[in-house]
């Protein structure tokens, strides 16, 4: 059977954790922070990679276009 009652009388009690709050919440807080960094770091890297690549593609296409115009101008 699952006992599903909240173990604390108030929110303040929950934060205080009967004197151990600072330990428990620091441990959870830093853990959440590190997990968020772990999950978002590769996503940011991928986004940066794709945007750089997009720029390169555009630059290449522009080169090709401008070459064509140059070709036209010299004739």
């Amino acid at each position: 059977m699952i006992s599903m009652s909240f173990q604390f009388d108030s929110m303040a009690d929950f934060l205080a954790m009967s004197g151990h709050g600072v330990y428990v919440w620091t441990a959870y807080g830093i853990t959440v922070l590190v997990l968020v960094v772990l999950a978002f770091r590769p996503l940011l890297k991928q986004r940066r990679f794709l945007s750089i690549q997009r720029e390169q593609n555009r630059a290449q296409n522009n080169d090709r276009d401008s070459n064509r115009i140059d070709d036209g101008a010299t004739k």
Binding site: G19, Y23, A27, L38, A39
Partner: protein, 251 residues
């Protein structure tokens, strides 16, 4: 029968071995895996922090167990993941295995750091000290340095092949440390207590506390898989940028 199993593994190997196939397939899994891991971790945290009963002796400080144990388990299993990928890469020369190996290193290092940190914070109110050089904690610190070593080796060589090979060899050598960490509390006198959840035999934790712990362990397994895939996909982009399918991604 063995032949057909081997065939199946081989086929799976080759499909999974293609970076493009890996990238596209894991792309479909990611959203589900993200929802499942966040769901389990949020559920387990609320359950463990607010609804699990307190411990008779440690009071509420024991609630750190709900992150400390899953993180430590994954930090150790993650090393086997890295070393297994390294072995596969060495033997079968599969590109993706190398990428998985180097992607597992920063993830494992972060988890080992968190295992040491949460353990240290937990140690203060229970043991009366943040740190002690016992066999469990020291071998865990060695695990952290092994992960850092793989990260450093991966960046130390200009040749990709050499870097991957060096990482694989260090990963394989380091596997010796995992059973040492696991058994340290039984082999030597340590301040750290023996394992609560045992591979064989009954766990020494009340069911009301075990249930949220299992939810958290499952959540961290999913989170590990999620981040390993994300890291590997990033590595694929960085190494395969010349191929036409990667170039096609940004168009």
């Amino acid at each position: 029968m063995w032949q057909s199993i081997l065939k199946f593994i081989q086929k799976w190997f080759h499909r999974f071995g293609s970076p493009r196939w890996f990238y596209q397939t894991t792309g479909k899994w990611l959203p589900y895996l993200a929802v499942i891991s966040v769901g389990l971790l949020v559920l387990g945290s609320i359950w463990g922090l607010g609804f699990a009963p307190q411990d008779a002796r440690q009071g509420n400080s024991y609630r750190i167990i709900f992150i400390h144990v899953p993180i430590s388990v994954l930090a150790m299993i993650g090393y086997y993941v890295m070393a297994a990928a390294g072995a596969v890469a060495l033997i079968w020369k599969i590109k993706i295995a190398n990428m998985v190996m180097v992607s597992a290193a920063p993830l494992g290092a972060a988890l080992t750091f968190l295992a040491l940190l949460t353990g240290s914070i937990w140690g203060k109110p229970t043991w009366g000290t943040y740190w002690v050089w016992d066999a469990r904690i020291t071998s865990m610190l060695i695990l952290f340095f092994l992960y850092l070593g793989v990260i450093a080796l991966n960046q130390a060589f200009t040749s990709r092949d050499t870097a991957y090979k060096a990482c694989a060899i260090l990963s394989l050598v380091g596997t010796v440390n995992i059973p040492i960490i696991y058994k340290s509390v039984d082999w030597w006198y340590t301040l750290h207590q023996p394992a609560t959840i045992k591979l064989t035999g009954a766990s020494s934790i009340h069911p009301d506390m075990l249930k949220p712990l299992i939810v958290m362990i499952l959540g961290f397994y999913c989170f590990y898989a999620l981040v390993l895939m994300l890291n590997t996909r990033t590595e694929i982009l960085a190494r395969e940028w010349r191929s036409s399918w990667v170039r096609g991604l940004s168009q």
